[in-house]
Amino acid sequence: MYAQMVESEASNDDPEKLAEFQARIDADIKIEPKDWMPQGYRKTLIRQIGQHAHSEIVGQLPEGNWITRAPTLQRKAILLAKVQDEAGHGLYLYCAAETLGVSRDEITEMLLDGRMKYSSIFNYPTLNWADIGAVGWLVDGAAIMNQVPLQRTSYGPYSRAMIRICKEESFHQRQGYDAIRKMAEGTPEQRKMAQDAMNRFWYPSLMMFGPSDKDSVHSAQSMAWKIKINTNDELRQKFVDQTVPQAEYLGLTIPDPDLTWNEERGHYDFSEPDWSEFFDVIKGNGPCNVDRLAARNKAWDDGKWVRDGLLAHARKKQAGNLAAE
């Protein structure tokens, strides 16, 4: 998912107000921006929504990398539309975060100077066209697992953003599956590329859900607040169960010799990813962390004259209008 290991904040609020607030959440009444809310709820949400928004934006980089080199004009148009959607997702989420009292510039700067994180998955490179298929199929597929239940989250603006996002996501996953399917059904060489993409993206996709949080106090608090709906393990299992038959259809092998159907549980058993790799990537040592942040910083710096120029123009026009009145 796009927000990993979000720590919840303790609340030092009036116990009576807290109880009233929790009762509203338990009754599935949405919390809206002007309503009273515990400090911890506000801060945790800013962190979670912000991380999710940053992931949408940084997530454009590995895919944008292949727009100019898509194999056909149609694939190029599709990928362009997909990446454009992701910019929209970032925007919906930033706007939701802003309703909690953080400004757009503040939250952007927190990404740019490393104070805020984005999903570990976007620190892996897209080496060839098969990777673009794998990203749409597996990465967007994993994101959907988390985003669908979040449509029911307790914070109104966040819930509405998730509803808009979910409407667009199934296009993302389908175009990815369609792209990798073309290769899986193609020449032996294309097949090999598809399998290689699967091999590289499988475990990083499983990591997207974050380490097991069944004993985490942060997750328990977030679940009580309904800003987290399922545990990481539940979502990961659901993703594996859904993906295995999709891989089988393509004739691709999931790079896990221990993957087996467990009749008793009614789920697949599978191997955990290497969590030391995950923590290393989170710390900034993944293959692309430096590039990703550098690209975002460059875009922000290079765009400054445009932002400033348009604002100056708008102010000048406004002053002109006032003078004419």
């Binding site: 925007l91 708008a314 026009k317």
Partner: protein, 94 residues
Amino acid sequence: MNTEWPLWEIFIRGQHGMSHRHVGSLHAPDAEMAIKNARDVYTRRNEGVSIWVVEANNISASSPSDKGPLYEPSESKVYRHPTFFDIPEEVGAM
């Protein structure tokens, strides 16, 4: 001086003769750019035929603590609903 573009609230009329409905917000330097950005963000899949943009600063909102005084008075006025009145069957549809 604050150099952040102001926030605009976006309202879109769907295709079916509906009212404009709030769909979200975005930052833009002026109304013209707000409309252009709204078109790019909120109508990529035929969601609308008309866009309104309002600078968020210009919206005044009721506050949640006014809920009682504002909405409770209407709760006791059940006669405002047509079902309050018994109409004899003989007179037909009304």
